[in-house]
């Protein structure tokens, strides 16, 4: 069975001990942790804070599935783009020390990337190559997340990045809702199956959240099981993936206990 986790900054806690205690108390066994968002600690994470984090993870038996370092690796300005990539690389040592599943990022909103997806793809691929080189040196995986409104926005582009970068250290974080559009949402089972079949071998973690469509086709979030997401169709694909982290995003802590019970029911 997969392991259920939470995005840590959906919870509040002033220290790793307090924060992980709350998350574990609700029944989650994994986290996605962005140090700056949860603790105001920037990368590279100071060694003393890594030790404090490691102790709290161990105490609460939580697996650090994803170190969140969401950057913009496809900016047209070379200098700014290198700054983003280098920031990502500075998160790798903490991931290594904490035995994290990966360091995760998305790939830059298309508008920010200059508006031309084909022009932005080589920039993205070059950035991911640099990230992968560093990841190989550190012995850490990196997780890249396709998003419909971003440079890497569909299955084909995701596979293109994987192929052109050519590193076994590059994996995929699959946020099914982030890939949905008005066009694909009507056949969620078919779309999810297509994504899963393409990503299966590279999957390092999944995100789980719900959504509705507004009149402009945007996807504001909704409480899990109350929006448009076909949760059952999605989770049934991965119910046999032993140890795969399924990370709840945009969780409302007061609802977590009930949600976990409902998710586990589907995963049985």
């Amino acid at each position: 069975m997969p392991v259920l986790g939470a995005r840590a900054h959906d919870y509040r806690g002033s220290s790793p001990e307090e924060l992980f205690g709350k998350i574990a108390g609700d029944g989650f066994r994994a986290i996605q942790l962005a140090f700056p968002k949860s603790f105001g600690v920037s990368y590279p994470v100071p060694e003393t804070f890594i030790e404090e984090t490691a102790a709290a993870l161990e105490k609460h038996r939580i697996h650090l599935a994803v170190v969140g370092c969401y950057i913009d690796p496809a900016l047209p300005d070379r200098q700014k783009n290198r700054e983003q990539v280098d920031k990502f690389i500075t998160a790798l040592p903490a991931a290594k020390a904490l035995k994290a599943g990966c360091v995760g990022t998305e790939t830059t909103n298309l508008e920010k990337a200059g508006g031309n997806r084909r022009a932005a793809m080589p920039v993205l691929i070059d950035s991911v190559k640099r990230m992968a080189d560093a990841a190989e040196k550190w012995g850490v995986d990196i997780g890249i997340e396709p998003v419909y409104a971003h440079v890497m926005h569909n299955v084909e582009e995701t596979l293109e990045v994987m192929e052109k970068v050519g590193s076994s250290r590059v994996k995929i974080i699959w946020d099914a809702v982030n890939m949905l559009s008005v066009d694909t949402a009507h056949d969620q089972p078919g779309f999810f199956r297509m994504c899963y079949d393409a990503f299966r071998d590279r999957l390092v973690a999944m995100h789980l959240k719900d959504f509705v469509f507004d009149e402009k086709g945007n996807k504001p979030s909704a409480p899990l099981f109350e929006g448009k997401l076909n949760v059952e169709a999605l989770l049934s694909l991965v119910k046999n993936r032993e140890g795969l982290p399924i990370l709840r995003e945009e969780a409302i802590p007061e609802r977590s206990v009930r949600e976990i019970a409902a998710i586990q029911e589907i995963l049985k």
Binding site: P44, P46, Q79, R82, D86, I89, T90, R130, A134, K137
Partner: protein, 241 residues
């Protein structure tokens, strides 16, 4: 603020005209120089040129081969002539336990002799000292715990290895004899100060707070060494504003 420069930053200019290279960095506002590559020309001549240029020779990058039994005395004499009390090992092949043990034994053997001669023995890092070597040893940790060598922290290479150089400076305190100020991108691509992603400004602030000698080492020579060291000095002056 008084800054130094590692002359390797303008190695082509040094090869073409050593004396002129010294006058160039002096003209740019550097007050100290760190030498590299042995005594060529002889120490007396280099000292004379440095004096004429108004430069202090704050350190030398001197390989471990200069510290063997047969070379040690000459190395000490050269440092006395240069008026320089900082001998910095610029790097060494420490890729196995055997090599590391031999190096540490050599350093622990020569350090008291150098000390008696008024010379401080230091080590300058790159990035590989922070990764496990072939036998799983972290070289930097080994040097810290098994020698009492001082350390010249190259802040860029430490950053490139995923370390926070400012945190390291705080931890190393009195083990530090100087720092190298350097900029660049991750992956070993150097840049003039202020143009890379290394935390140069924070390092500069910390070095100032700790009263540590700051030695610029900027290695790209783009468009050439003197232009790059000049650009670095401009950046340093901008931090003082």
């Amino acid at each position: 603020m008084a800054y130094g420069v590692q002359m390797y930053s303008l190695r082509d200019a040094v090869a073409a005209d050593y004396k002129q290279a010294l006058f160039t960095v002096a003209g740019q506002g550097y007050k100290m120089v760190e030498l590299f590559g042995g005594m060529n020309p002889d120490a007396k001549t280099i000292r004379k040129w440095a004096d004429e240029a108004g430069l202090v020779i704050s350190g030398t990058h001197t390989g471990a081969a200069s510290l063997t039994a047969e070379n040690l005395q000459q190395t000490i004499e050269d440092h006395h002539v240069l008026g320089c009390n900082l001998l910095i090992i610029p790097g060494h092949d420490l890729s196995t336990k055997e090599k590391l043990d031999a190096f540490i034994e050599q350093m622990n053997g020569v350090q008291p002799i150098l000390e008696q001669a008024g010379i401080i023995l230091c080590y300058h890092n790159h990035s590989h000292e922070f990764y496990p070597n072939e036998d799983g040893q972290i070289i930097y940790d080994q040097l810290l715990s098994r020698t009492s060598m001082k350390l010249e922290l190259d802040t860029y290479w430490a950053y490139n290895a995923g370390k926070d150089p400012v945190e390291m400076m705080e931890q190393l305190k009195d083990r530090l004899c100087a720092i190298h100020l350097k900029d660049g991108f991750m992956g070993g691509e150097g840049m003039p100060l202020g143009q890379g992603t290394a935390p140069v400004k924070k390092v500069w602030q910390k070095a100032r707070e700790m009263n540590l000698p700051m030695i610029v080492e900027s290695e790209t020579q783009r468009p050439d060494g003197p232009a790059e060291t000049g650009e670095c000095m401009k950046y340093l002056r901008s931090l003082e504003d």
